[in-house]
């Protein structure tokens, strides 16, 4: 049970938005500086029931809605020091936290293991602690390997491929430069690409 803290909900339908924003800003400051439970209860009393209604509309599921409220309000308690009244009102700050939570919840529902998370997209709770989950790069055919394959081409074919693909020359230009017939350039190109394709297939 809570000791000495009454659940306040009196603000719910009273006060002008500006007064309310000022009062909530002040309460957030007190939570940040003194871990003031009374101030937090005031913030909670105002926002939690609103977030619950909003979340139910968004998620369409009672349990998910309450999870979103829980996670959002936990962030408000734990990271109140990141609220900056100069950057916006408490309701905008809390709304954007809720948006991030919803984005991540939907991502997890889709069962994605590692993905772009809301902290990357909307740094509302910025100065995040670094992510400890290092991800190892999956094994993949790299262009370096393709480069090695290019290097294993016969010199004459490689010269043609490099002139065309690296220097961006036309087949006619290559023919002129190397003083060989255009048909030869074409056949060397064709043979080289066929060879590369074969090597790639062997590689797999």
């Amino acid at each position: 049970m809570l000791v000495g803290i009454s659940l306040e909900n009196k603000l719910q339908n009273t006060g002008k938005p500006k007064d309310c924003a000022d009062e909530m800003s002040q309460a957030l400051l007190e939570v940040a500086s003194q871990r003031c439970k009374r101030s937090y209860a005031k913030i909670f009393g105002y926002f939690a029931p609103r977030l619950r209604s909003y979340a139910l509309k968004q998620m369409g599921n009672e349990a998910l809605a309450m999870e979103m409220v829980q996670d959002t309000m936990a962030n408000v308690w734990q990271k109140a020091h990141l609220f900056n009244a100069e950057k916006g009102s408490p309701s905008t700050w809390i709304f954007t936290i809720a948006r991030n939570i919803r984005f991540d919840m939907l991502r997890k529902l889709k069962n994605r293991k590692e993905d772009i998370c809301s902290d990357d997209l909307w740094p509302v709770l910025c100065e995040q602690t670094p992510d400890q989950n290092e991800v190892s790069l999956e094994e993949q055919v790299t262009l370096e390997q393709v480069g090695l394959l290019f290097n294993s081409l016969p010199d004459k074919q490689r010269a043609v491929i490099e002139a065309i693909y690296i220097d961006g020359k036309s087949q006619q230009e290559v023919a002129d430069e190397l003083a060989i017939p255009l048909g030869t350039v074409k056949s060397r190109t064709r043979l080289a690409l066929q060879r590369l394709k074969d090597m790639l297939e062997d590689h797999d």
Binding site: L2, N9, Q12, Y40, F44, G45, A48, P49, R50, R52, S53, Y54, M66, V69, Q70, M73, A74, W77, Q78, K79, H81, G88, S89, S91, T92, I94, F95, T96, A98, R99, R102, R112, K113, E114, D115, I116, S118, D120, L121, P123, L125, C126, E127, Q128, T129, P130, V135, L137, T142, L143, E144, V146, G147, I164, Y165, G168, S170, L193, K197, L200
Partner: protein
């Protein structure tokens, strides 16, 4: 100077969180360096958050709230520390990247030579797919191509042109099968871009068409 921005609709969907993760990442990175778009998103956030003020609040006497409040206030404060911003390195040159991309610097593989004066480093985005940092040296050119899917590009550092327009650091570019272009950089310092393609490129100029059998390796 930034000339190419996401559309207002894209910014709206971004602020709502109703956008694919890959597109959201590139929009977010753009907003990090474009104060104009960041202000628009801030305004949309204010507008969207009024829904919290105006919604009919759920009955607070629900006992679940009291339980939730008590459990939350047992949680410790989370102290956050500013992190040293990781940077992208290429041949001893370091590039700052927009904040939303910083987490992916450690997921970035080695640079490999792509074509001519063009270099590429793959970035693992998890299930959102793969991105690439692409660096064009002065004079570097990607052969003319169109796109089987969508190509998202953010100019991280430098300038390049593609036959359709000239781009500068911070520009947001979205290309699909209606666009044919050939990115190249004539900037002395070259150009670093961050790019996501969801399907292979399709090379369109006579000779480079021969690359198509391999394009899934080069650009996807």
């Amino acid at each position: 100077m930034i000339n190419y921005h996401p559309t207002d609709k894209q910014l709206q969907q971004f602020a709502e969180g109703n956008i694919s993760p890959a597109l959201a990442l590139v929009v977010s990175a753009h907003c990090d360096v474009c104060s104009q778009c960041q202000e628009k998103v801030d305004d949309i956030n204010i507008e969207l958050s009024s829904v919290i003020e105006n919604v009919r609040a759920h009955d607070f006497k629900d006992p679940a709230f009291e339980k939730m409040l008590a459990s939350i206030m047992h949680l410790p404060v989370i102290d956050t520390k500013p992190v040293v911003a990781p940077r992208i390195e290429l041949d001893g040159r370091f590039f700052d990247v927009p904040r939303p991309l910083q987490r992916f610097v450690k997921n970035t593989g080695n640079w490999s030579h792509l074509l001519g004066k063009v270099w590429q480093a793959p970035v693992d985005l998890g299930d959102a797919g793969e991105a690439n940092f692409i660096y064009m040296e002065k004079g570097g050119r990607v052969p003319e191509h169109t796109h089987k899917g969508t190509e998202l590009t953010l100019v991280v550092d430098g300038e390049f042109s593609d036959g359709l327009a000239d781009y500068d650091s911070g520009d947001f570019i979205i290309m699909d099968n209606e666009h044919i272009h050939s990115p190249h950089s004539n900037a002395v310092e070259g150009c670093l871009v961050f790019s996501i393609v969801d399907k292979p490129l399709h090379f369109t100029s006579g000779i480079a068409r021969l690359l198509n059998p391999f394009s899934h390796l080069f650009f996807k």
